[in-house]
């Protein structure tokens, strides 16, 4: 493998052009997945026996089985039935992009539902009682008390899940979506320079993930002013971390 800067740069430019597709897959599946996850979380915490059994079964199936098999099941499996091909869902299920988004969303919903449940369970019962005592109920209680505490609690786990989703979008290349990995494969079939192209693709994913990690850290910082270190005169300008480090 020679170090051909011109080739690497032209590959980089071509692969960057596929980044919007990767981001579209990512954004669509994370948002859709969050909607599904809200429903599943509701099922699990609602208290109904049947609903919570459904929620548990969903989480078990979609976290226990690999994403690739879910994606193939939706893309190849469902198209096998004439009933599906003649239904009004066919325009959605025929298209590799929407199939990939569906599979990614179903899968992440299982994980996100667990994160949301963890966040909800971390809300102290006394805070809810206090909210009730001061006359809040229903949506107001959720919006002012439950949601902020739950979101803060769930954020670190959520950022991990989001990074995993960025990586998972690469699987869409296996059902012929031309995102970064798929485009890389197409470039390789034209140039036969496997390693260079895949290395550049990897670099692009690392860049995307780096930016997302920084953004999530920023959100976390904004949402937790109560945890920020205050200047502490006793330990010299609030640099407590340095004292023990």
């Amino acid at each position: 493998m020679d170090f051909d800067v011109a080739f690497l740069w032209s590959t980089f430019v071509k692969l960057i052009a596929a980044v919007p597709m990767t981001l579209a897959l990512f954004a669509a599946s994370v948002c859709l997945g969050a909607l599904f996850a809200l429903g599943i979380t509701y099922c699990r915490v609602s208290g109904g026996l049947l609903l919570s059994a459904f929620g548990r079964a969903y989480v078990f199936v979609f976290r226990g089985s690999p994403l690739l098999i879910q994606m193939f099941l939706i893309y190849y499996g469902l198209g096998q039935f004439p009933a599906v091909r003649h239904s009004l869902f066919w325009p959605v299920l025929r298209d590799p992009f929407s199939c990939a988004v569906l599979a990614l969303a179903f899968c992440t919903a299982g994980y996100q539902a667990e994160i949301m449940r963890g966040g909800l369970q971390a809300v102290p019962a006394r805070e809810i009682e206090a909210g009730r005592a001061s006359g809040m109920s229903g949506l107001l209680l959720f919006r002012r008390i439950i949601a902020p505490i739950a979101i803060r609690q769930a954020l670190p786990a959520y950022s991990t899940e989001i990074i995993l989703m960025v990586k998972s979008t690469a699987l869409a290349s296996l059902v012929t979506v031309w995102e970064v990995t798929g485009t890389a494969q197409r470039l390789i079939s034209q140039t036969y320079r496997t390693m260079e192209v895949f290395l550049v693709a990897t670099l692009i994913y690392l860049l995307i993930n780096f930016i997302i990690v920084r953004l999530m850290a920023l959100v976390e910082y904004r949402l937790s002013p109560h945890l920020r270190e205050r200047p502490n005169p006793a330990s010299g300008g609030g640099r407590q971390g340095e004292v023990h480090g």
């Binding site: 493998m1 078990f60 199936v61 226990g64 089985s65 690999p66 994403l67 690739l68 098999i69 879910q70 193939f72 099941l73 190849y76 499996g77 469902l78 198209g79 096998q80 039935f81 990074i163 960025v166 990586k167 998972s168 979008t169 690469a170 699987l171 290349s173 296996l174 990995t181 890389a184 496997t194 390693m195 895949f198 290395l199 693709a201 990897t202 994913y205 690392l206 993930n209 780096f210």
Partner: protein, 240 residues
């Protein structure tokens, strides 16, 4: 032919191949876990070391292998390895393409990823070992190696068991991607069975169900192991 025949063990049935493929999936995952354990131990040591370059290298490793898509890591190892093998072949006067065995490539690739996760598990476990125990061992005159063997390793293994369970589940699912190199593990075999019988839905459901069997079983085993190693902790933690 009914679907029972298709997944059964008769002449036309794929049951036997699918079970064999399940063993292959287990074998790749187990091999990758072992490779990852060695790498993870080295990386964790690097990340905990006093030397700045070592820490930097350890951080770089975990950042790259936890941040890059698993599929790309597998492609890179498979094609990169094949390129290297071909180059060696050329040097030995063998012309033509030599492929890396797909089992080896898959195990190494998933092992590289698993190593990054295992490094974090071991690092956390090391930090969970009470400092007092190390001081105590030092004060009764244990040397570095003895301290490592008698005090650190047993506790690190105990503390890292839950994390290792997670890594195992991750690797089990990452191993599906090894199918792109042509290794006849569970994913690839389901795919071939689906394609040759045109029963895509059936075989992907069956394949998915077999993965569920694997993840559920391994969950049980890890829970059992955790309970077992926790026996001697009962008093110190005050609960089972």
């Amino acid at each position: 032919m009914s679907w029972i025949d298709l997944i059964g063990f008769g002449e036309q049935g794929r049951g036997g191949i699918l079970l064999w493929a399940m063993c292959m999936t287990l074998a790749v995952t187990a091999a990758s876990l072992c490779i990852g354990a060695v790498l993870g131990a080295i990386i964790a040591t690097a990340k905990l070391s006093a030397s700045r370059p070592a820490r930097w290298l350890g951080d770089a490793y975990t950042t790259v292998f936890r941040g890059a898509p698993e599929l790309l890591v597998i492609y890179l190892v498979y094609f990169g390895g094949s390129q290297a093998v071909t180059a060696i072949g050329k040097w030995l006067n063998y012309d033509g393409f030599l492929g890396l065995p797909s089992f080896l490539a898959g195990a190494v690739a998933v092992g590289l990823i698993s190593g990054a996760y295992q490094a974090e598990v071991y690092r956390g476990a090391y930090q969970a070992v009470a400092r007092g125990e190390i001081d105590a061992a030092r004060s009764i005159g244990m040397g570095t190696l003895l301290r490592f063997r008698r005090i650190l390793v047993p506790q690190i293994l105990r503390f890292s068991l839950p994390g290792l369970g997670n890594v195992w589940q991750l690797s089990l699912k990452d191993s599906t991607l090894v199918s792109v190199t042509g290794l006849a593990e569970l994913m690839r075999t389901s795919q071939i069975a689906a394609g040759s019988t045109k029963q895509y839905f059936l075989f992907f459901i069956v394949g998915g169900a077999l993965y569920l069997v694997l993840t559920t079983l391994s969950d049980r085993i890890f829970n059992f192991a955790e309970r077992r190693v926790a026996r001697s902790f009962r008093n110190s933690l005050g609960r089972r």
